[in-house]
Amino acid sequence: MNEKKTAAQSQKLMVFVLTMSLYGLATLFTELIPKFQVGIVEFSVEYFLFIPLVLAILFDPMSAALGAATGELVFSEIMLGQFGGLGELEKFITVTIGVYIAGRMVRNPKNTRMVGIAAITGTALQLFMGMAVDILKVQFAVSDFEAVPGLPESVFATEGFAFLNDLLFSGILFCLLPTLFLVPRLYGKIEPLLGMRPRTEETSLGGISGKAVLGVLIGFAAAVGAEMLAESGLPLIDWEASWAESGTAMAAGLVAAAAMAVIVLLIIRRNAEVQKSRA
């Protein structure tokens, strides 16, 4: 009976590809469309999270969540060259967690109220984790964070405000309402296209288990850890301090070695070219 319960591997791959292309396309547009602000309220079409939410509610949540995070990474970050290193890891993890939790919460997609609750919970979770990580990021990037006048308060205020703004504006308009609109319409129609049966009470993965919560906590810790690397990377800072002292000789040596390497490589390259043209 086990095959009936969980989707086959190839079907998981289908869900992954589907979510990746759709959410990737949407985030690509949001990256390109400029935001505009009215007063301090930001109106951005930033949030197309309803796409992975709908798909996570209808299909396998884990594949949809990973697909969404990968899609965003590949389409809007890597293709546009906006890849921001460690920061993207944080986004990847928070999107995955938010979508996965929302997908696991819904046992029966026909239950509209549960779908609504799941959609807004997933969004809020993702936004909240994003906010927490953002605050930490500024704290570590700016040295003497507390000492700079006005900076701590302003960071808390802007981030907190952005969180509420995103949740109340984008969260409701672009996550909750579209999800409520799309789930009942797609239910029973999109599953046959992937060769699956619609999710029912019996075939759902069940509610959120302790294992899932644990996984989420570990994931969030990893997201924070990625950002905190700057703080815990103490040996690196020590190393910096040591060359600042013993200093000039070592730096001069480095410069000389690098200059040597450049010259030698230039000569080798010329020789290779000459040989090639002779041959």
Binding site: I78, G150, T158
Partner: protein, 278 residues
């Protein structure tokens, strides 16, 4: 005067059409495979990127940060990145820190606040220019090969290759669905202010509704894709070492790659030297 104004706004709107966006994205992805950066070995570039993505975060030294910034700015020029991407980068960097500065003024910040923020801007700018160089300078296939060599999951390389191939088609389809919605619907009158608001809501609604047929179509397409992959034994090949070796056989380190790395090291070492002398 009135005519000029209308003409100006029209030309700006023209520039920002769907086709313009599509062209810029495609140009960024495929358009520049003949640059110096694109010819480098992806592995060398990724190692290079790893340094410039991480090192600036750890340093508060102005000379070092400025050196990093100038180097990555030079490589960005060499990679001939599409204009739109650079424009977005500029907005992203300066909007973020500028906004933060304004708010901190509000909370009793002063001119002293601006220095740490400048350092932050420099860091962010250096890191993101490095990523622009690597990720839009490189051909997608070379990029995914490079990532695979470093042991990134096969899923990611697959996603990158797939995304670059499918994107033009997806964009066209999305545009078609949108246009057909517009043809059938009736947009609100935009003469009055209330009409403008209504129009905005209408546009957003159309975009969201457009995802309904798009989801169904893409579902069909992704099933076809996955079935085709299965026929070719993709999931078996993805974990097979022999296949990976064959795939990566095309990568060669050349003198140019070493030269590129050596010049970068030289530049950074020179900055460090300068720093100890000052």
């Amino acid at each position: 005067m009135e005519g000029l104004k209308r003409k100006l706004s029209e030309s700006i709107l023209d520039k920002f059409s769907m086709d313009f966006l599509r062209n810029q994205v495609l140009k960024n992805a495929y358009g520049n495979d003949d640059t110096v950066i694109a010819r480098l070995d992806p592995r060398a570039l990724l190692v290079w990127y790893l340094f410039f993505a991480i090192a600036p975060w750890f340093s508060d030294n102005l000379i070092f940060l400025a050196a990093c910034f100038f180097l990555v700015a030079a490589t960005t020029l060499l990679a001939r990145v599409a204009g739109l991407v650079l424009f977005l980068f500029g907005i992203g960097v300066f909007a973020q820190t500028g906004y933060l500065f304004l708010v901190s003024l509000f909370f009793g910040g002063n001119a002293q606040t601006i220095l740490p923020l400048l350092v932050l801007t420099l860091k962010v700018a250096a890191v993101s220019l490095a990523s622009i160089t690597v990720f839009s300078g490189l051909d997608p296939d070379r990029l995914s090969n490079g990532l695979m060599w470093f042991g990134c999951p096969e899923r990611l390389s697959f996603s990158i290759s797939y995304a670059y191939r499918m994107l033009p088609m997806l964009m066209e389809e999305f545009q078609n669905v949108l246009l057909s919605y517009r043809l059938r619907g009736r947009a609100p009158d935009t003469e009055t202010f209330a009409g403008k608001i209504k129009n905005l809501i209408y546009q957003v609604k159309v975009i969201i509704h457009a995802f309904y047929p798009l989801m169904l179509n893409t579902a069909k397409r992704s099933r076809t894709t996955v079935e085709a992959l299965e026929l070719k034994g993709y999931r078996y090949a993805a974990v097979n070492k022999e296949v990976k070796r064959m795939k990566l056989a095309s990568l060669h380190m050349t003198y140019d790659d070493f030269l590129f790395l050596a010049v970068s090291v030289f530049w950074i070492a020179a900055a460090v030297l300068l720093n100890t002398l000052v």
